[in-house]
Symmetry: C2
Subunit: 410 residues, 2 copies
């Protein structure tokens, strides 16, 4: 990826969403799984779309993930994805899998699609069964469209403890054609390592074969969705799904295509935007924390250290308290499994250098205090041990995180 | 270890401490590193003691640990350990190491010992230098003795955010001699994996060579200190040090000694007691959580899963909220790196079975709620996947954890 030099090629479409690319409709309805909020959503393409998806690394994959993988395996093409909140349909045994297949079947029937053209996703409480009669009614009530109200309805329907909707939209020129990509995501708790740890849906009108789309998604996920953490816990239901319906008319994208890097950047922009929106809306969060690590032996090492720092409860509480306690950053670095030279580390919080070659530097507490009042906090670490660079994103740990999670289910 | 059958051989000595074994004195003074609390402590044996110690796995080992390792390496014998709170003397470069050596030198001079007979430990804020004039004065003011007031003074001097002193004392018959072992510990934040993650001092009048003592300590640490977690963060300063001065007069203990297992149990009782006291006094904790995992492929796997559960922020907040959200336990198990059979897991919280062969079981929310009001919460998991059993201990995550850590340094 020639990220820096080509950034100018990617244009943000303000107010855009998953229905901004050509040929997508969406909707969200109140099926009754929740008391009053919308709780069932759909994205549907006018034509079959190539697709790629990545899933949670949890050993307990929820039923909808199993069904979605079965759908995609059939011919790597889908046309719709149906999503519910309130109930994760996870740890629900064979009945859960039957329910997820039924949800797929009803959706396919409603829109006159082959069943394997439908993907399924769920989010909510683990270990409870779906109220299938309500799901049925909800599906019947879908009326997908392309108004902003439709995309708001979808985005509302997929939220759980999220406070805000997460969406993005960017475009790029590929083959002289305007390719548009939009995304929607949910997730603010159980946000951690190794895939998604949330639901993300990305639509594009790019023309690209599924196998290349999946390869691109995997590459980009490693530096975006897999680099955010809210609480260190990985969900059973996480999934990022990309649909590409080809309506923009570019010649099919492959790694040999002259604009392949532009496509990777377009995908990265969307994924990073959603990932950061999720981190920022972490349960109880008051600040977004961005950690940048340079000088590691490898990029993987840099990402690991960045994520260890942004995942430390002690760092997170210090940032919440606006306390420039860089010792906790050292604590997190020291605990990581990568090779460190303990006498060559630099640390800065914002513009303020606090450690240079592992020696504490005098700094103004007042200036630090002032910087830490910001809503976005940047932590910079140079390990001076190689050429690997990486970033991670998270949020502070507040009273409200505890409040939200002490009473989620009841 | 024939733990179960021989437990009766270990007797608790109520009110006992690090000075209950023969030949140990202690003291704690206010050196002025803190505003008014005691902040400098010493344990000293009447005669040179064999010793073993285990240290933090952090890549940034603090200066006092480097000095202690140098002391012990000399002839695996020490006679005193000097400890300060308020300042960790970590990430303080060469000056920090010089300061720790100086602290050792002053202590040796005060008690007329060879310098390498003195071990050094520190706990407190990372990245600040020790106020050496105050340390000097404090050392001069030590007046070690064997009254309860002396051991209270030591235990107070080593605390940081701890709310309570942590001590224990047990005895056993070895060779027909009464061997006594006592312990003191501090730690309630930065409590996590792989060694100590706190300071622990254990004294005994057993006769045992240092190499066997160290082997015993390592074995026992894996199932006790290394199985507690408060916040997932590993400190730069953690250490557990055992001194054995031989005054009980037993024949020297080796793994071939008929009472070797009794000695291991005696050590395990002390370590487990201190470990659980630390977990219970975790920053902001309102409940001690004990997780017992059976049926893993190996004991190491069982310990890993147990620790993953007790370290999950989501499990910890659910227990704080007295919410029987077993889905979060499944989440934590699924995230662990050990081999799981996703369809054979049983989960119980206290006496209430919530999952059987990975199928949710109906249970009384009222009964669960009642159980979760207890101060000690037992989570039981059977993976039904082998014969490996293990335990881990931690605490709930409360508003007060956030409060304490948002304002620790300032």
């Amino acid at each position: 990826m020639q990220a820096v030099s080509q950034t100018g090629l990617i244009k943000e479409i303000t107010g855009g969403s998953i229905i901004t690319p050509k040929g997508y409709k969406t909707d969200g309805v109140h099926a009754g799984l929740r008391y009053s909020k919308k709780d069932l959503g759909i994205i549907i393409s006018d034509v079959p779309a190539n697709c790629g998806a990545v899933y949670t690394t949890s050993q307990f994959q929820a039923a909808p993930l199993i069904v979605t993988q079965e759908s995609i395996a059939f011919e790597e093409t889908i046309q719709a994805v149906v999503v519910n909140s309130a109930c994760a349909n996870a740890c629900t045994g064979e009945r859960g899998i039957r329910d997820a297949f039924q949800m797929r079947k009803w959706t396919a029937k409603k829109f006159d699609l082959p069943e394997h053209y439908v993907a399924v996703a769920s989010t909510g409480v683990i270990g409870e069964y779906l109220a299938m009669d309500k799901v049925d009614t909800g599906i019947q009530n879908f009326q997908p469209g392309i108004e902003p109200a439709h995309s708001d309805a979808f985005q509302t329907a997929i939220l759980t403890t999220d406070l805000v909707m997460k969406n993005c939209c960017y475009s790029a020129k590929i083959d002289g054609k305007t390719v548009v990509m939009g995304g929607a995501a949910k997730g603010s708790g159980m946000i951690h390592p190794n895939m998604a740890t949330m639901l993300g849906f990305i639509t594009t009108d790019a023309n690209i074969e599924s196998k290349h789309l999946l390869a691109a998604l995997r590459e980009v996920t490693d530096t975006t969705f897999n680099q955010i953490t809210v609480d260190g816990d990985t969900s059973t239901n996480d999934m990022v799904l990309v649909m590409a319906n080809g309506l923009s008319g570019n010649t099919s994208l492959t790694p040999d295509h002259p604009d392949w890097d532009v496509f990777l950047q377009l995908l990265a922009k969307n994924c990073e935007s959603l990932a950061k929106q999720i981190a920022k809306d972490g349960e109880g969060a008051t600040k977004l924390i961005e950690v940048e690590v340079i000088g590691a032996e490898t990029v993987v090492d840099a990402r690991k250290v960045a994520k260890q720092i942004v995942g430390s409860n002690l760092v997170k509480t210090a940032i919440y308290g606006e306390d420039a306690n860089w010792g906790r950053i050292i604590g997190a670095i020291g605990q990581s499994s990568v090779n460190i030279n303990p006498s060559s580390v630099d640390i800065a919080i914002g513009p303020i250098v606090m450690l240079k070659n592992s020696v504490p530097q005098a700094f103004s507490e007042e200036q630090a205090s002032e910087y830490l009042k910001n809503k976005i906090i940047h932590i910079f670490v140079d390990l001076n041990n190689g050429k690997g660079n990486g970033k991670a994103w998270g949020c502070d740990l507040s009273y409200d995180y505890v409040k939200i999670n002490a009473s989620y289910r009841t």
